[in-house]
Amino acid sequence: MHFSFTEEQSQFRDAIRRFLRDKAPISEARRLMETGSGCDPEVWREACEDLGLAGIHIPERYGGLGAGYVELCIALEEMGRSLFCAPFFSSSVLAASAILNSASEKYKQELLPEIASGRCIATLAVVEEHGSWDDPDIRLTARKDRDNYRLDGTKNYVTDGALADTVIVVGRSPAADNAEGLSLYLVLGDSTGLTRRPLNVVDPTRKQAELQFSNVQATLIGTLGSGSTSLSHTIDQAAVALANEMVGGCQILLDSAVEYAKLRMQFGRVIGSFQAVKHKCADMLVDLEHAKSAAYYAAAAVAENDPDLAAVAALAKATVSDAYMRIAADCIQIHGGIGFTWDNDTHLWFKRAKSSEVLLGSPSHYRERYMQFVEAGL
């Protein structure tokens, strides 16, 4: 449902929140963000075994929980709240959705149960040096070589790209210059000719890498040339997922700003009694409520195969990204000097807000996309 959650969904949320509170407090995020992998394999294994986390929206016949997209988004909201350091977004959202949307039955059976169990960490490599998520900008080539393919080119901003066991790569047939030429290929993380360079990222709780492909062996996992439509569907779904993850961050930042405003004294009174502060908090709440409305509506739209999903996803991504950045900036402002320190946790979410703002495409990109749907008579 678009405007409220069921009792079961609320219980599901509680279970995930409890797990993350116990196993992934913010001190863990601080520890893991300094590591190369950015993930604790033991906690990841537990999350997958105890909660079935990695396979929430993967159908049961492929070893997943077979729950809906709304449940997936509930989990993401909780992870965004706790800044859970794990390859969930890369593996279960990006890669699993790409496989569900475009792989042949054979590869679904081969890949999804491994992803659903959390044993295989996968990711999706789409964007190249120019940072554009649009099809025509994808140049990496996939050349036929007997039964297999050979990839040449570079992928950038690949989330968990250095950690992944398996990379789903969007490549182009050398002859085809148009959208029809795109297909999805499977590459193993340790393939010969694949160079993975971890990137220095603003948000160290979400690792990224640059992947260079030089004559790397790859397997076509769907129908040749069918990559374009399924890719844009995958990205729409991922944008909705990311929007829900961002909502979790918005909520915790507002809570933290309000809590601080009730404690901090200046001029003989708590700063939350000053209207300049109080009104900022009220505006943050309006932003948060709008962000929730957009993200929850969009999650239900994915779950219900809404024909207008692309437009709804664009709305959600743009709306929530802007809200998250505003809330994050205001949360720092309300904390004053302490808000600018490394020791205060606010910057961790601020950084996630900044990187999420442009991951999968900027708010202005999505606004332009939305206008195109509006013009076509949404």
Partner: protein, 421 residues
């Protein structure tokens, strides 16, 4: 209630209302006669209690019911303007005698109402009212002045907030009355607004009188009851765009409705513009070619998204209420959100109009409608409680932030206030 239950109910209710309308709707019926029929059937205000002309249906179903009315072109009960605030307040706090005297004629449209709250000295600080009501042993005698009173020049009755005790702290010395606006002791003088219309007024009381039975609830309950009226006003803010559009269909009942809209509903004719007219943005962008300007496209998309999302936020609040969450200050959130939408819409209309934004009336775009939007939107963030007041309410009552230090405690007599003119 699950989504599925709600869906089943909606189908049933749609069928029931459509059947009733098909059997009874007659465009040649008189307007008042038709509305009386509607009131007796319970389909005029189906979300009202059964005892008072309703059917106790969840308010979430009213949109579906309205759609059935629209489909067949049936006219509804009178629902525009302050009358609905009067009805909501009476339903919650009125005695049975008061309900039976007033509710029906509110719905038929025979009586028009206004809200006598704001004064020259107290607007945001409504509890600072100094208009006085004194009991002479038989009736209440009213003296003082109200201002910004929408519709007072058409009103038969009014909701009045007046001071009955000057020694009590300010919120406790107020009482709430229904007052007859047609009496000699009341003088109404229209005020011209920045958009050229004159829908609000100054109202002067010189020994105006109120019979004892028109006090609502008890002496001293005024503030509590005013909060009910205001909560309804704020919650209604996102519905403003629906106000005051006449049908162009032929038939006696439509003629009478058009006449009503032209007279007693006249103060509300610019209310759609004050909400920003988001519906006009795309047609205007196409017509002017601005739809091809990348900067305009960004701003239009921002507005359309904000407007859509505000509706979803309002819907989430309604759904939460239907599921049993008590009605609370979230009306303030909706009201603040609709101010944002209106202001953004006004900016986008300016962007689209370019130099034409300098022109009004028949020289202006859309025969002056665009200028009317630009000059009406500022009312949205003032009327019904300013944006700043909504932020105070959200921060204090939803987020639990502390109140300001108070300067107005103790007997009202001693509280510092504006000089009276």
């Amino acid at each position: 209630m699950s989504a599925a239950d709600h869906g089943a109910d909606e189908v049933k209710v749609r069928r029931a209302v459509a059947e009733w309308l098909e059997a009874h709707w007659d465009p040649e019926c008189g307007l008042i006669e038709w509305r009386n029929k509607l009131i007796d059937s319970g389909w005029g205000v189906p979300h009202w209690p059964q005892a008072w002309f309703g059917r106790d249906l969840p308010s979430g179903l009213t949109t579906a019911i309205d759609e059935e009315f629209d489909r067949i072109g049936a006219v509804g009960v009178a629902r525009i303007g302050i009358r609905m605030l009067a009805a909501a307040t009476l339903l919650e706090h009125g005695s049975d005698a008061q309900k039976s005297q007033f509710l029906r004629r509110i719905l038929t449209g025979e009586d028009t109402w206004c809200q006598l709250f704001s004064e020259p000295g107290s607007g945001s600080d409504l509890a600072g009212a100094t208009t006085r009501a004194d009991f002479d042993g038989e009736k209440w005698i009213v003296n003082g002045q109200k201002v910004w009173t929408t519709s007072a020049h058409h009103a038969d009755w009014a909701l009045l907030l007046a001071r009955t005790d000057w020694d009590a702290p300010k919120h406790q010395g107020l009482s709430y009355f229904v007052i007859d606006m047609t009496q000699a002791g009341i003088d109404v003088q229209p005020l011209r607004q920045m958009n050229g219309h004159a829908s609000f007024n100054q109202v002067f009381f010189t020994d105006a009188s109120i019979p004892a039975e028109h006090l609502i609830a008890k002496v001293g309950d005024g503030w509590k009851i005013a909060m009910t009226t205001l909560a309804h006003e704020r919650r209604g803010a996102d519905a403003l765009r629906r106000w005051g559009r006449a049908s162009d269909r032929p038939g006696r009942i439509y003629d009478e409705e058009r006449a009503e809209i032209a007279t007693v509903m006249e103060p509300y004719k610019w209310y759609a513009q004050r909400a920003g007219r988001v519906d006009l943005v795309l047609p205007r962008a196409r017509e002017t070619g601005r739809i091809n300007d990348p900067v305009a496209r960004q701003e239009i998309a921002k507005l359309l998204m904000l407007s859509q999302v505000s509706q979803w936020t309002a819907q989430r609040a309604r759904t939460a209420q239907e599921q049993g969450k008590p009605q609370g200050p979230e009306g303030s959130l909706g009201k603040l959100a609709s101010s944002h939408v209106a202001r953004a819409a006004s900016n986008v209309h300016t962007l689209i109009a370019g130099a034409d934004a300098m022109l009004c009336d028949n020289d202006g775009p859309l025969d002056g409608i665009i200028a009317e939007i630009l000059l009406s939107v500022p009312a949205t963030s003032i009327a019904g409680g300013t944006d700043e007041i909504q932020r105070n309410i959200i921060a204090e009552r939803v987020l639990g932030l502390p109140k300001e230090p108070r300067m107005d405690t103790g007997p009202f007599r001693d509280v510092p206030r504006n000089p009276t003119r």
